[in-house]
């Protein structure tokens, strides 16, 4: 990856972060912490990895994305808006009565949302079903799921993990946004789920580890997933909850609460500063 490409990714990730903060602030509720931790991953998926077309959201040969950790809807919406699926101003209506953007992803009403999710543990099963359908059709479509580490406490994740290996769904790649936190505390103190890499390996998956905020690592991980045949890939991506907003980083309390006006302005100032700098870099 060239420095220019990396800066372009960084710039888009920061724009996505701005969209997250904008949406959650407008909603006065929602989940900024686990949205911000996935922002770099989402930027990479939608700018580099996935075949998709914002002008044709139902394009049959598009790669599919399933946000199994559906509460991180703000990062998906900010990513889709940034990609051009709908206007960024929609983010200002997030969670409002009558708005297109529901609290959790709704495939019926939001262009670019390939599966309705939100009840944890269910998205990976749906991703398996999509991957299986595409295999039956012989399309070559790939399916990308993003899971939470806390979500891996759900038994259904492991039902799906066993199924995906048994059916050799090598067109499926699940990334665990491993930010180490959930509503009631750190994952380790609530009900520890590590070692996730060894667990997925034991379920027969190809496992790759990366830093969720390092684009070289993300690129290598998705490349390894694409090259692996005969089994699905799990990317265990170590991330920082609340990444990119200083006062939200590694704070359990920012799992599911919205910033007030002052906090919103501070967050936007931090992000905007980085956007300005990156825009200058990219323009060089």
């Amino acid at each position: 990856m060239t420095i220019w490409q990396k800066n372009e990714l960084k710039l888009n990730a920061e724009r996505i972060r701005a969209g997250i903060v904008r949406g959650v602030y407008a909603a006065k509720s929602g989940h900024p912490g686990g949205s911000l931790s996935s922002a770099d991953i989402m930027a990479y998926l939608y700018l580099t990895e996935m075949r998709h077309n914002p002008k044709n959201p139902k394009w049959e040969d598009r790669d599919r994305f399933v946000l199994s950790k559906g509460h991180a809807a703000p990062v998906l919406y900010a990513t889709l808006a940034n990609a051009g699926y709908f206007a960024e101003t929609e983010l200002d209506n997030l969670r409002h009565t009558g708005a297109m953007l529901q609290g959790h992803p709704d495939m019926k009403h939001t262009p670019g949302v390939d599966m309705s999710t939100g009840s944890l543990g269910q998205g990976l099963s749906a991703a398996c079903g999509i991957a299986l359908a595409e295999k039956l059709k012989g399309t070559g479509v790939r399916v990308y799921a993003v899971l939470g580490d806390g979500e891996c406490q759900e038994g259904q994740i492991w039902e799906a993990a066993a199924f995906a290996k048994h059916r050799e769904l090598d067109n499926l790649c699940a990334l665990v946004d491993n930010n180490g936190m959930q509503i009631d505390g750190t994952v380790a103190e609530v009900s520890g789920i590590e070692p996730l890499d060894i667990k997925f390996e034991a379920f027969g998956w190809n496992v790759v580890k990366t830093d969720a905020h390092d684009f070289d690592g993300i690129e290598a991980a998705y490349k390894a997933a694409r090259e692996c045949k005969g089994k699905p890939t799990a990317i265990i991506a170590s991330s920082t909850k609340g990444k990119g907003v200083s006062f939200m980083e590694n704070q359990v309390s920012w799992h599911g609460s919205a910033p007030n006006k002052e906090q919103f302005e501070q967050a936007m100032e931090e992000i905007t500063k980085r956007i300005d700098a990156l825009e200058k870099e990219v323009a060089k």
């Binding site: 049959e60 599919r64 399933v66 709704d106 495939m107 019926k108 390939d114 599966m115 309705s116 939100g118 009840s119 543990g121 269910q122 998205g123 990976l124 099963s125 749906a126 991703a127 398996c128 079903g129 999509i130 991957a131 299986l132 359908a133 595409e134 039956l136 059709k137 038994g155 259904q156 039902e159 799906a160 066993a162 199924f163 048994h166 059916r167």
Partner: protein
């Protein structure tokens, strides 16, 4: 009547999946380690490349079916009613119902006629659970003829469908040469003027027999088969309410949340008449041969006739 042919609707289900696949190539069949019991094993043998056993994992069964449907397939997800509507309720509600995906749930071994396996496997709550899911279609066929046509109707319906099949062999009273299944339409099986018995599934033929018993007592009973419990045929129910002013419902399901309450919902809003609900009372089943259990729990022509007569007599007073 003694020589009437019998077949369990689960067998009709398995046979129709095999018969319909050539016509509907998007069809995929899933099971959760009960293929031999749900009869999807017939499909597995005929089209192994389109059959997927997910193992004992009903949440994943429904989730995988949702994903298949999201990618244009028509998945039939099969397990016992207990584990589909019960265990996987929330997966059906959120991954299938909310996005209105065309997943067809083939739930077998519904009701008390599961028999010897006992209360843990006798699902008398599935209709109630499925009725509360917005946009869910619920079909409870009464015999082989109806079940087979219902499977095709489910395929043609663009949305989620919950299909309820039984373990016990049921008399085949609909003539395949003349019967035409219409989704959402009740079937007037026998006209009558004193009261109406509205039945579903295994209880439909019992209701027909009950009408014969009532005739001996000089009571003219109308019999309606409600195979589609949701959306329910309001017209046929309201006409029965207007014409006969007394309704008896019969279902192999809890009297809470099932056909009886669905009928009550229709008449109480538009034309209140007494409704006597016959079904499993607010209790669990027990182990025993299916036929004995049906008698013990009052799911018989004799009990339907007795309850109907008592209600008619008190109406007449």
């Amino acid at each position: 009547m003694a020589d009437m042919q019998k077949k369990a609707t689960r067998q009709s289900y398995g046979e129709s999946l095999v018969a319909l696949f050539p016509k509907y190539p998007n069809l995929v069949v899933l099971d959760a380690d009960l293929a031999a019991a749900t009869q999807t094993v017939m499909f597995k043998k005929a089209y192994p490349e389109r059959f997927f056993d997910v193992g004992i994992a009903e949440g994943n069964l429904i989730g995988v079916a949702a994903g298949l449907a999201a990618s244009g397939m028509i998945p039939f997800a099969s397990t016992f009613a207990m584990f589909a509507a019960g265990r996987a309720f929330e997966q059906i509600r959120n991954s299938v119902g909310y996005p209105h995906l065309p997943v067809k749930i083939g739930a077998t071994h519904a009701g008390i006629s599961v028999g010897e396996d006992g209360a843990t496997h006798q699902c008398n709550e599935d209709i109630a659970l499925m009725r509360v899911i917005p946009g869910m279609t619920i079909i409870n066929p009464a015999d082989d003829t109806e079940a087979k046509q219902a499977v095709e109707a489910a395929i043609l319906h663009n949305g989620p469908v919950y299909m309820r099949f039984g373990r016990l062999a049921a008399p085949i009273f609909n003539d395949p040469a003349t019967y035409k299944f219409e989704l959402g339409k009740g079937v007037l099986l026998k006209d009558g003027s004193d009261l109406t018995i509205i039945a579903t599934g295994l209880m439909v033929w019992e209701a027909m027999t009950a009408a014969e018993l009532l005739k001996n007592d000089g009571i003219s009973a109308r019999v309606i088969n409600i195979h589609t419990i949701k959306p329910i045929d309001e017209d046929i129910i309201l006409k029965a309410a207007a014409d006969t002013r007394l309704i008896v419902t019969a279902e192999e399901h809890s009297i809470i949340g099932g056909l009886g309450e669905a009928v009550c919902g229709v008449v109480s809003a538009k034309n209140p008449v007494p409704v006597v609900r016959i079904g499993i009372n607010d209790e669990y089943g027990i182990s025993g041969p299916a036929v004995e259990l049906l008698l013990k729990f009052g799911l018989s022509a004799a009990n339907i006739a007795a309850k109907a007569k008592a209600a008619f007599d008190s109406k007449a007073r």
